[in-house]
Structure formats: structure tokens, C-alpha cells
């Protein structure tokens, strides 16, 4: 079932820069889709358009079965530094008018899901980069959204933390089966995570090709070192090079 249909969307910024040109993309309910492209290709813009944080200059974004609840994870953790991890995670519920005791219980549960039980009372500055990103993911998932949009969420993290978060993210996805749209510029990350990759060209960006990653889940560290993974990465890299040359 199709959840989102991006139809021939273009986006011009006020300064005249054309970020997207004639982009089309279908997103199926429940899938894990990565959007792969070079820096500045309009991946983030595409994500913001889907989130409704910006409006397309031309083209439409269709929601065949209505616009679902969605969660958004930014490049930075984007936490409120003046309050605790728990209150940060509870924010979407607070803004939705959920009563205090209920939202705190649900936020604590969400923190537990990302492996941060016991850090409810910590302030963002007391947490490491990876932990802050986990809080950010917990906040995006606390409303149990149908669609989770992630904008290069692990780009600023070190390799080891990033790998752990990749595995944990897949784990969360398999348990709750939200639809995941993951923007990245890393071939390895996109192949490891997703069922399908949309490859974008350089600015003005558009989706040039799509490729399926047929490997079975759960994908573990073993998958990350397999010949199958290496072959898929090679294939994806080739597609990306083609997109850059186009």
C-alpha cells in the first residue's frame, strides 16, 4: 500500500537556488527507504516537503490514505538543553495535550526502547552525542508515528556509535514497523539499513534511480561483513556515480 506519493515536485528557494527539480518518489507503508545522494542535492529539502515544513514550488505530495502522524529526526539531536531527557521525549505528547502522568510514563517507555532507561532525569549536556541522538529518536517515536523521517541523523557520530545506532534502529523498526525514510550520503549506511534506495542526482536534485536491497532481516554485524553486503555496496556506489555524472 502506498503511503506517500511525491509527484513531479520542484522547490526553489527565495534566493533563487533550485533545490529540487521534477522529483517523483513513492513510499510504501511499512518499508525502510533510504534516500541517497551527495551533499547539497536537496535530500533534506525533500524530507522537509514530505513533513509539511515547506511547500513545493510545483508538483504535489499525495497521501492516498490520509496524512498519518509522523516523527522527524534532525541532523543534530535538537534537544531543549534546559530540561531533562524525559521532558524532551515527552514534548510531542505535551504539545498534543496529553496529561502529565500519562506522557511521562510513555516517554519513560520510549527512552527504555532506545536503551536509555535510567537517564530520565539527565540533562542533554550530561549525555554523549550518541545518547543525545537516542533521546531524539525516542522523542520522534513517542507518538507511535506511522512515518519516521530521518535527516542524516548519525552523520555527526563516530563510526562505532553509528554502527550501534544503525543496528538498534533496525531493531526498533522490526518491532514496530513504522515506515522509515532515511536520508544519508553514506552508501554503506543505506545498504545496511534499507529495503530500497532512492538515488538522487546533484543539485538541482531529483530521484534518478531506485534499487532494491533484497537481503533478509534481521541484519546484524555479520551482514555488514558479508560478500553479499559488499556486492550490494558496489552496485549502489556505481548507481551513485552515475547519478553524479548525469
Amino acid at each position: 500500500m502506498r503511503l506517500v506519493g511525491v509527484r513531479d515536485v520542484s522547490k526553489d528557494f527565495a534566493n533563487g537556488v533550485r533545490a529540487l527539480e521534477g522529483t517523483s518518489l513513492d513510499i510504501e507503508a511499512g518499508e525502510f527507504l533510504s534516500v541517497l545522494g551527495p551533499s547539497g542535492c536537496g535530500k533534506s529539502t525533500l524530507l522537509r516537503l514530505i513533513a509539511g515544513l515547506a511547500q513545493p514550488t510545483s508538483g504535489t505530495i499525495e497521501w492516498p490514505s490520509g496524512r498519518p502522524d509522523l516523527g522527524f529526526v534532525f541532523q543534530e539531536p535538537t534537544l531543549m538543553p534546559w530540561t531533562t531527557a524525559l521532558a524532551n521525549v515527552a514534548l510531542p505528547l505535551k504539545l498534543a495535550g496529553v496529561a502529565r502522568s500519562e506522557r511521562e510514563a510513555r516517554a519513560a517507555e520510549a527512552l527504555g526502547h532506545v536503551g536509555l532507561a535510567g537517564f530520565e532525569r539527565s540533562y542533554p549536556r550530561e549525555l554523549s552525542g550518541g545518547m543525545k541522538m537516542r533521546v531524539s529518536i525516542a522523542r520522534a517515536l513517542v507518538t507511535e508515528p506511522k512515518l519516521l523521517l530521518m535527516d542524516e541523523p548519525f552523520a555527526a557520530l563516530d563510526e562505532i556509535t553509528r554502527r550501534r545506532l544503525n543496528t538498534d534502529l533496525l531493531d526498533l523498526w522490526q518491532r514496530t514497523r513504522f515506515t522509515a525514510v532515511f536520508v544519508t550520503h553514506s552508501v554503506f549506511e543505506s545498504v545496511f539499513l534499507s529495503q530500497r534506495i532512492a538515488v538522487m542526482s546533484a543539485r538541482p536534485g531529483r530521484v534518478l534511480s531506485e534499487l532494491a536491497i533484497p537481503a533478509a532481516y534481521p541484519r546484524t554485524e555479520a551482514f555488514g561483513t558479508s560478500a553479499e553486503y559488499a556486492a550490494l555496496c558496489r552496485l549502489t556506489s556505481a548507481q551513485l556515480s552515475e547519478a553524479l555524472a548525469a
Binding site: 509539511g52 509522523l70 522527524f72 534532525f74 543534530e76 535538537t78 538543553p81 534546559w82 510531542p92
Partner: protein, 258 residues
Amino acid sequence: MSARFLAPILVGLVMLVLWEAVVRTAAIPPYVLPGPILIAKTLVSDWSTLWPALIITLEITMQALAAAVIVGVALAILFSLSRWIELSFFPYAIILQVTPIVAIAPLIIAWVDDVNLSLLICAWLVAFFPILSNTVLGLRSVDRNLLDLFELYGAGRWRTLIDLRLPAALPYFLGGLRISGGLALIGAVVAEFVAGSGGRESGLAYRILESGYQLKIPRMFAALVLISLAGIAIYLLLSLLSHLLLRRWHESALSAEG
């Protein structure tokens, strides 16, 4: 006690000793320059005059600071809600700020019958701008992504103000408050000078003027010392308040070990 406190105290003591020594060896008469010991003695002997004067000046200062906080924050919020209001009124706030208070104090004192109220207005005029400009800056310095997040979850302007803009502006506001605390005191003293006796109760500035006329120079210095001490106390109090409010999260209040 660390060097941070010891060093300035030591410098102060050395300066006081030097001052006393110069006054004694050169036999400078007290009506030209009293030594620190005489000033301290005067502070004690004239306490019954100086203490009520200090209280009056401090009352005006605190009232002016409170009014500056209320008006400054309210205007800043109004500016942050409407770009048009900000564009229309901010230049006038700047004009108020750059016009020297000594120049407009006589007007205000002439226009307003109640002397206390006119002093309050003068002190407020000097104190409110740092709070206004800092709070405006703070309300605008909100993380763009957090603003997007609030929009994503359908938060209205009011919710965004309460839960996002105001907390984000708090460190900026407190910075402005620290500056305004000192300025309110300066404003109160300047206004008292311009107003002269002004009638019934009189603050420290009037005592300084009066001592000058009567050539009671040691008392003048004692009053000066009190004003300085009051200024330092205000600064320390506001710094403490800032530290207490920010210590859990803001970079400015973090200790070195983080």
C-alpha cells in the same frame, strides 16, 4: 580561598594602605582628600544619616529594575510576536537609550509632580534597554530545528513562546538583567542629583551634594563607598540568581570539569 578572590583583595588592601600613607605624609587636609580610615570612621559616625539615604536610593533602584524587567520583557515578547511592531517601535527604544539621562531628567522632574515617581522614571529609562535588547535577541536565537519541531507537532504561537522561546531567551535575559541592575542604580543616583533635595526624603546622591556644599568631604566619600558597595551587591545578587537558574544546563554556568 583561591587566587581569584585573594588577588583582588590584596590589590585593594595595598591601594588603601598607599592612599592612607600619601594622605598622612603629604598632610593633605580632609576637605581635599580624606584617608580611608577617616572615611570608615565617618561611615560609622554618620550611619544614622547615611543608612536611611541608602535605603531610599535602593528602593528607587529596585522599583526601577522591576519596572524595567516587566516593560522590557513585555515589549520583547510583543516584538517577537510581530515583526511589524518591532520595526515600528525598536528605533524609538534606541532613541530613549542613547539620549543622555542627565539631559532629560530635568524635563521629567518638571513634568511629574511626584518626585519619587520622576526619579523612578529616570532610573527605569536607563535600565530597561539592556533587558529589552537582550531579550529580543534571545527570543530570536531559538534553534531553527526546534522551531520546526514545534511546528511539526502543531504548536501555536503561544505554546511556542512559553515552552520554547522564553526558556531559550532566559540566558540572554539574565545577561541583560545584570547590566540593568547596575544601570538602575546609576539612573537613580543621576536623577537624584538632578532633582536636588526634592523635598522630604532624600537618597544618597542628595547626601553627596549636601556634603559637598557643607565641605563635609569625608561624608561625601562615605556615601560614595555606600553607592559602590550597593552596586557590587546588586551585581553579585543578580549573578547568583543567574547561576542558580542556569547551572543545570547553560554553558555559561558550567564548572570547568563539566
